[in-house]
């Protein structure tokens, strides 16, 4: 490693780091630049967990416990920044904000944040897994229907499974999982910025 980058690896790494820092700075402001390692690691963890379904693994993000873990982590950070900006009594008082009657609804809307974040990511990945498994099953039964009567190994050739699932995989595995990773990080940044309430 040198101050002036020479090797290709270092140039690529510095490019990624500056891009992430600029991304976080433009969304959360200069005060929260120290969040960029957390945001980027969350994004990469989510993206590569979901992309592992390309290698026929069961993606970790198709389990609700993974997503609830991440979103509860984010929820705790939101509460921490709310307490930091308003003080503990101010935080408790903020639940009774317009009138005291609305306290249960305020608590409910606070709890809905991690639940909606987790279920959005979970539902998108699981819908991809379910639909592609349905397509694989129907295609294999279709090709056994077409070739099942042939003798020997000819009946085992999966002709219909050859190219068709790849089209679905581009949407459900590549596009959907990368988009959901981006959305998760974007919402994390927006919620933390709203909770901290920093004046620029």
């Amino acid at each position: 490693m040198k101050v002036r980058p020479e090797s290709k690896k270092q140039i690529v790494a510095e490019y990624i780091v500056t891009a992430v820092q600029n991304f976080v700075k433009s969304n959360m402001g200069k005060v929260f630049e120290f969040f960029s390692p957390f945001i980027f690691s969350l994004m990469m963890l989510s993206a590569f967990s979901s992309l592992s379904s390309l290698l026929t693994f069961k993606p970790p993000t198709s389990d609700i416990n993974t997503l609830l873990g991440w979103s509860i982590l984010v929820f705790m950070m939101i509460i921490y920044y709310k307490i930091k900006s308003m003080g503990f009594l101010g935080y408790l008082k903020s639940y009774t904000k317009p009138i005291v009657l609305l306290t249960p609804f305020n608590i409910l809307s606070d709890v809905a944040v991690p639940v909606s974040m987790a279920f959005r990511h979970f539902g998108n990945i699981v819908s991809g897994v379910v639909i592609s498994s349905l397509v694989y099953g129907s295609l294999s039964s279709l090709s056994s229907l077409a070739l099942g009567n042939l003798p020997g190994f000819l009946s085992k050739i999966p002709i219909f499974e050859l190219g068709l699932p790849a089209v679905l995989s581009i949407y459900f595995d590549l596009f959907s999982s990368l988009l959901q990773a981006f959305i998760f990080c974007m919402l994390t940044m927006v919620y933390i910025k709203m909770a901290a309430n920093v004046k620029e």
């Binding site: 959005r120 979970f122 819908s127 959901q180 981006f182 959305i183």
Partner: protein, 86 residues
């Protein structure tokens, strides 16, 4: 007999819960249409319009995803739970 009724009720409920897919479909259609209008009016702002639209679409999808999660629960989790109780 009870088994069959439970399974049929779960399947019907899963089908009904996917009616929730109508709302996000209409909403995302509006969003994409407006984004196309914006790009046609100002082609140089294509990048920011597209990223904002994708973000909004993914957020608007949430209610449909809730319906889908309920359908998944009804198809895979609830039947085994209730059949174990019988």
């Amino acid at each position: 007999m009870e088994k069959a009724i439970i399974l049929a009720a779960c399947a019907i409920g899963a089908g009904l819960s996917m009616i929730a897919g109508i709302g996000p479909g209409i909403g995302e259609g509006y969003a994409v249409g407006k984004a196309c209008e914006a790009i046609a009016r100002q082609p140089e702002s294509k990048g920011s319009v597209t990223s904002t639209m994708l973000m909004g679409c993914a957020v608007a999808e949430t209610t449909g995803i809730y319906g889908f999660v309920v359908a998944i629960l009804l198809l895979f989790v609830i039947p085994s739970m209730f059949l174990g109780m019988l």
